[in-house]
């Protein structure tokens, strides 16, 4: 994100309470103009509530929401230049596809003919022109999804909200829609705020991701940043696959933290703000950042015994017993090079760790 980029949606210390239940606890997020921004988290984390507050379907208990410097928290949904793609699409069943897409334009005051014309153009963008006069119920799930997208984009909103729009589609269709959404976002230049519980979907599409849990933003950053440098246990565990080890920090000197995890295992990693000497914290190591060998090959290595190899097509995951802590997973790609790193169950091996692969977590 460049510094000059204006802020499209600025959420400032927003709180949402339903009776005694606090759904959002002082959330502050700034979403840049033309950004593909994702709210990612498990169900019940408050991501959909936050999206509905931006759309205007939920009122704000405390705090403020700005759209390009204009406070919108008090505006009704029909006065906000923000449109939504609903989870189950909510296409109007009594209207044709063309009427659905033209609805927002007509409500903005355009003539019926003009609304139809622009709706037709929108249908071309999502390649559904030939279905313009059908009813939504006559379309497949994927086609309905595109109609919902076209309907929300047609009035040219300043921000588009997408509430788990791909969750009803099968895997293959979802993958192609992910790329198409990203493509449409770049083409239209509209800010997208995307809600999902699928971390892979979030990593694939987003410029930036806010990982949410229990009504709070746990971490905010680019896909790579969140994946490589998770801030806490929740983020490390929720995004991707990881090994979580309980460690004690023995000393921090020369920009390296030395930790031990019992059973004689010791390793060093980059220190992290908030984790001091003597702390008992968790360490996250991604399975693909490790490799096995019969002799130690890197400065940082652990000893373990192979328990099992699991073949999953693209990769081979080796499960190891370190003699301490939970079982450890190491991944090797299914290639000639990767297969050299696969050992038979029962063999004692060294688990080599690239420098920077281990990450200390603030609990």
């Amino acid at each position: 994100m460049t510094k000059q980029r204006p802020i499209a949606i600025d959420i400032q210390k927003v709180v949402k309470r339903f009776g005694d239940f606090t759904a959002l606890k002082e959330v502050s997020v700034s979403i840049g103009d033309n950004e593909f921004f994702t709210l990612l988290g498990p169900s019940g984390c408050g991501k959909t509530t936050l999206l509905r507050m931006i759309a205007g379907f939920e009122d704000v208990t405390a705090g403020a929401i700005f759209l390009y410097d204009q406070e919108i928290a008090k505006l009704p949904p029909n006065k906000r230049p923000i449109n939504t793609v609903f989870q189950n699409y909510a296409l109007f069943p009594t209207m044709s596809v063309l009427e659905n897409v033209g609805f927002g334009l007509e409500m903005q005051g355009k003539s019926r003919a003009e609304a139809r014309r622009q709706a037709g153009e929108m249908l071309e963008l999502v390649q559904l022109s030939q279905f313009a006069h059908r009813k939504p119920s006559q379309l497949s799930g994927g086609q309905q999804q595109r109609v919902a997208l076209a309907r929300a984009l047609a009035p040219k909103p300043r921000v588009l909200l997408l509430d788990e729009p791909l969750s009803a589609l099968d895997m293959k269709l979802r993958k192609s829609m992910q790329l198409e959404l990203k493509h449409i976002q770049r083409e239209t230049g509209i800010t997208f705020i995307f809600v999902t519980h699928d971390q892979e979907e979030a990593l694939t599409m987003s410029d930036r991701i806010a990982v949410m849990s229990a009504g709070e933003v746990q971490q905010l950053g680019t896909a790579r940043d969140i994946y490589e440098n998770p801030r806490n246990m929740f983020v490390a565990d929720f995004i991707g696959d990881t090994n979580l080890l309980e460690v004690s920090v023995d000393k921090i000197e020369n920009g390296r933290a030395t930790c031990h995890l019992g059973g004689g295992h010791e390793l060093t990693c980059d220190p992290v703000a908030g984790v001091d000497t003597g702390a008992r914290v968790h360490l996250s190591v991604r399975p693909e950042r490790l490799f096995l060998s019969s002799e130690p090959e890197e400065v940082e290595s652990l000893r373990g015994r192979v328990v099992e190899n699991i073949f999953i097509g693209t990769d081979i995951t080796t499960i190891l017993d370190l003699g301490v802590g939970p079982q450890f997973r190491v991944r090797a790609s299914n290639s000639d090079r990767g297969n050299l790193r696969v050992f038979e169950p029962g063999q004692n091996v060294f688990v080599n760790m690239e420098r920077g692969a281990a990450r200390l977590l603030v609990d």
Partner: protein, 268 residues
């Protein structure tokens, strides 16, 4: 898997079925057939004739029946319209309200009058009109009919609304529609089959009501059912059968229509 035919094919099933149908429909069949009887007698067949139908429109009682029919149809039309409007608002409030605390209680309160014995409602209304000093006549019948038609209009509308979630209205408002536009352009067309069905049901319920009407009508005004009853008290004449048959056909058409309309699913 057993076929539908095999599952119901136990000994005596057909006999039982025909017995039930006979008990249900034989009286109606007799009335219908004898309405075309040329004889003055209501029990002996004297050949086919339409004379009693002519008699209904031109005979000595025709003026009485015509004014009763006018009252019945005008009251049914107004009562069904007003009751449907009220029932529609109630159903809308239930949808917009989402899962509010007294939702079930509210639904019960609206539907309950269907289960109250009609005679109780009739007495209660009579006492009510007397207590407030309301002169009984056309207006008192109309008010009573509006009241007892509401739950009948409400049921098909609310059944239709089950499939209409609040999200459609939200989607409309998200696309810059005001509340009124969201209702008129999105919700109303989706509710329409239920509304028409509810209206037709209320219309038929009002048209053939006897007990409540008889209590609250006052002297000097008749609806078709009370006029028929009055006529029968002075002796059964075949023209009553002709009127009854016409009412039967009309009711059957309306109820069939109501059922057909209620089956149109516009939420999918």
């Amino acid at each position: 898997m057993q076929t539908g035919a095999a599952r119901f094919d136990f000994p005596g099933f057909k006999v039982l079925t025909f017995l039930c149908l006979f008990i249900l429909y034989a009286p109606l069949l007799v009335v219908t057939v004898y309405s075309f009887n040329d004889s003055r007698s209501i029990t002996t067949w004297g050949g086919f004739s339409l004379r009693w139908y002519v008699d209904v429109f031109t005979g000595p009682d025709s003026a009485k029946f015509q004014s009763a029919a006018f009252n019945s149809f005008s009251i049914a039309l107004i009562a069904a319209t007003v009751a449907t409007a009220i029932a529609t608002s109630a159903a809308l409030a239930m949808v917009r309200g989402g899962r509010f605390k007294l939702r079930t209680a509210t639904f019960g309160l609206i539907s309950l009058p269907i289960l109250v014995p009609e005679i109780v409602t009739a007495v209660a209304m009579l006492i009510f009109f007397n207590a407030i000093g309301f002169t009984r006549g056309y207006t008192s019948i109309l008010i009573a009919h509006i009241a007892f038609c509401i739950p009948f209009a409400y049921l098909p509308i609310s059944a239709r609304m089950q499939g209409i979630e609040g999200v459609y209205e939200q989607a409309a408002m998200d696309l810059y529609a005001g509340r009124a536009q969201a209702f008129r352009r999105v919700l109303l067309p989706m509710m329409m089959p239920g509304i028409i069905s509810g209206f037709l049901l209320a219309f038929i319920i009002s048209l053939d009501d006897f007990i409540i009407t008889n209590f609250v009508k006052g002297a000097g005004i008749e609806t078709l059912p009370t006029a028929i009853f009055g006529s029968v008290k002075q002796g059964l004449r075949p023209n009553i059968m002709a009127i009854s048959t016409m009412l039967l056909v009309f009711s059957t058409v309306i109820v069939t229509l109501s059922w057909l309309v209620s089956r149109i699913d516009r939420t999918k």
